[in-house]
Amino acid sequence: MKNYQLSAKDLAAFFEKVLSNNLRLIAPIKVKQNESQNVTKLKNKAHILFREIPSKDDLKNIVIDAYTDMSAKEIFFPRSEPVIEYTNKKSGVVIKDIDPQAKETVLFGARPCDAFGFSLLERLFSWDYDDPFFLKRREKTTVISLGCTSPLESCFCTSVGLSPMNTEGSDILFTPMSNNNNDKEDRYLVEVITPRGEKLIESIIGISSDLKNIFTEGNSLVQAKAAFENKVKEQMKRKEDFKDITEILKYKFDDSQLESETYRCLGCGVCSMVCPTCHCFDIVDEGEASHGYRMKNWDSCSFALFTKHGGGHNPRDMQFKRCRQRYMHKLHYYREKFADALCVGCGRCVKACPVNLDIYSVVYNLKKAYANNKNKEDKEK
């Protein structure tokens, strides 16, 4: 697809054009809770979250360089949404479908790992049965992801076969670049990846002439991007390759090492909630018997009730079995069905976890232990 170049100072103009095309713009902003009323002086932990940018003067709140605390999954798969509305009168039951009200949206600022996460979710939500709620919203959204120039200590996207400037899953990738790599990044290489991305760029450029000149030709930067990408990859602290981890996980299933590695897990659901690829949900009815909604809410395999049978038997009665399910499902089961691991290496779970339980180090230690007793076996032979 086509490549463009956009100078950093024209980014705001691009956003304004998106807004004037009455597209919904969602981007990361620093949310200091309870800004409203006279509570601004409360010292709140600020969070970088994806929020809708309603108008032009909110554009200044957009945060480009920081990493969001929650993934953008919530745009397509909200923490709770009604799937049907029922009214149950003496005269009978009437069920109304709920339309996900998917609006034409531009999601700016997802990271390449988040974007790849959407493509993973899309595979599951269209596996034999199409989940209209996720798929309609994804279809109406153009994902513009932002390449990573300074990955965090907890990032490990290269371990699962991705990269800080990976294109798969995004419709358009903005990569911050600098001209002949003096350090200040003052422009973006704009790579259009999917027809949906192209449609957006055409619709934006097509209308007004003034925008045409800020999207100049970008092929010249493609070379520099490849080199820049490798440089960033080198800087990453965590680079262990998890390509062949499936065999190790199968081998280690009943190994006590998994229990000792996850001993400190407290069984909360933070890791699943902040994760861009966790998709487990619960279905409950809310409201009275006469009228109410059937809700689809986020759920987590770390909760005790997740697999508890009606008869009281719980196959995963101990916490380490639930942690094991999390790793197995992400790096082994999902990969067997859908070719890629259900983990994009964004590291949000290790940062958000109250005891910093880290999927990367658990799998790293499993791999090392597996290698040790592998060559121990070879020595014995």
Binding site: V39, L266, C268, V270, V284, N356, S361
Partner: protein, 295 residues
């Protein structure tokens, strides 16, 4: 001699030596302490069962977890007797657990650490600013001879300014404040799972017959969940503030906990986790309790 600076490597070595002989002498089966974590300057809870691994234990000002939450976990409870590294605030949780008959006093060997405030995300949390238990009480052994000079206690609690602001608000505004806070709740239950005093086998939020709390993370369910969780900890919470630290959405649980703790102190002159003999206030009564609000 009282001091305000702590030599953490001394304390760390003392923990290791103490743990070594506790394990070797079979006085405890497991030592619950802090160890190196995946993110370099953030230690993690670590569990040592054989004496050879005591060198994995470390101690520095980033050891902010309240480890007593593990004593009631299914995997660790049967491993009693335990040894556990506790700061002053954590020791209050141990007292709370013993007073509520969750653990027996003789089953837990508490390694008391003098503490002059931990660092969370690089800064001193509000609970440490005027901490009164810098030198841990009710512990089996205080690790080092040094005493922390806790004379310079600032009278005003750091949350005082926020509490004042909330009290000045009208009921309507306060409701909106708490509604905005609880609306962000995603029901990950980290506040419950990390609290040493939330040890119920089946939490009321997990009961469905009847469904007292709706599990949908909407305004109504979240308000009920957060209110009921806070109320179930009245007179029991030791303000270790682990819940507000681990809340991924930054909900100001510390304000709610602190308010309730102040109310309990003013009404029943009770501070939780300070005395093995004192029962939590809502499990006892006094004939002369205040009842002027009752018609």
């Amino acid at each position: 001699m009282t001091t305000t600076n702590i030599n953490y490597s001394d304390l760390q070595q003392e923990i290791r030596d103490l743990s070594k002989d506790l394990l070797e002498s079979k006085k405890v089966n497991i030592v619950i302490g802090y160890g190196a974590g995946p993110l370099n300057e953030k230690p993690i809870p670590t569990f040592i069962t054989n004496a050879a691994d005591v060198d994995r234990l470390l101690y520095n000002e980033h050891c902010y977890h309240n480890l007593s939450v593990y004593l009631t976990k299914a995997e660790i409870r049967p491993k009693a007797p335990w040894a556990i590294v506790v700061k002053g605030c954590d020791a209050r949780s141990i007292v709370g657990l013993v007073v509520e008959n969750q653990i027996k006093r003789e089953d837990v060997f508490t390694i008391g650490m003098p503490c002059n405030g931990v660092k969370i995300e690089g800064n001193l949390p509000s609970k440490c600013v005027n901490c009164t238990v810098k030198n841990p009480a009710n512990v089996s052994k205080v690790v080092s001879s040094i005493k922390i000079d806790s004379s310079a206690i600032i009278e005003q609690h750091p949350l005082h300014q926020d509490m004042e602001m909330l009290n000045k608000m009208s009921a309507e505004e306060r409701f909106q404040f708490w509604k905005n806070e609880f609306d962000r709740c995603i029901r990950c239950y980290a506040c419950r799972q990390i609290c040493p005093h939330c040890f119920c086998n089946t939490c009321i939020a997990e009961k469905s017959t009847p469904q007292w709390i709706s599990t949908t993370p909407g305004s109504r369910g979240n308000f009920a969940w957060n209110a009921i969780r806070a109320f179930h900890l009245v007179g029991r919470c030791v303000e270790c503030m682990e819940c507000s630290r681990s809340c991924p959405m930054g909900i100001r649980l510390d304000l709610l906990n602190h308010y309730l703790a102040e109310e309990v102190k003013n009404s029943y002159n009770f501070i939780s986790g300070m005395d093995f003999e004192q029962k939590p206030p809502l499990t006892t009564y006094n004939l002369k309790d205040n009842q002027d609000f009752i018609k």
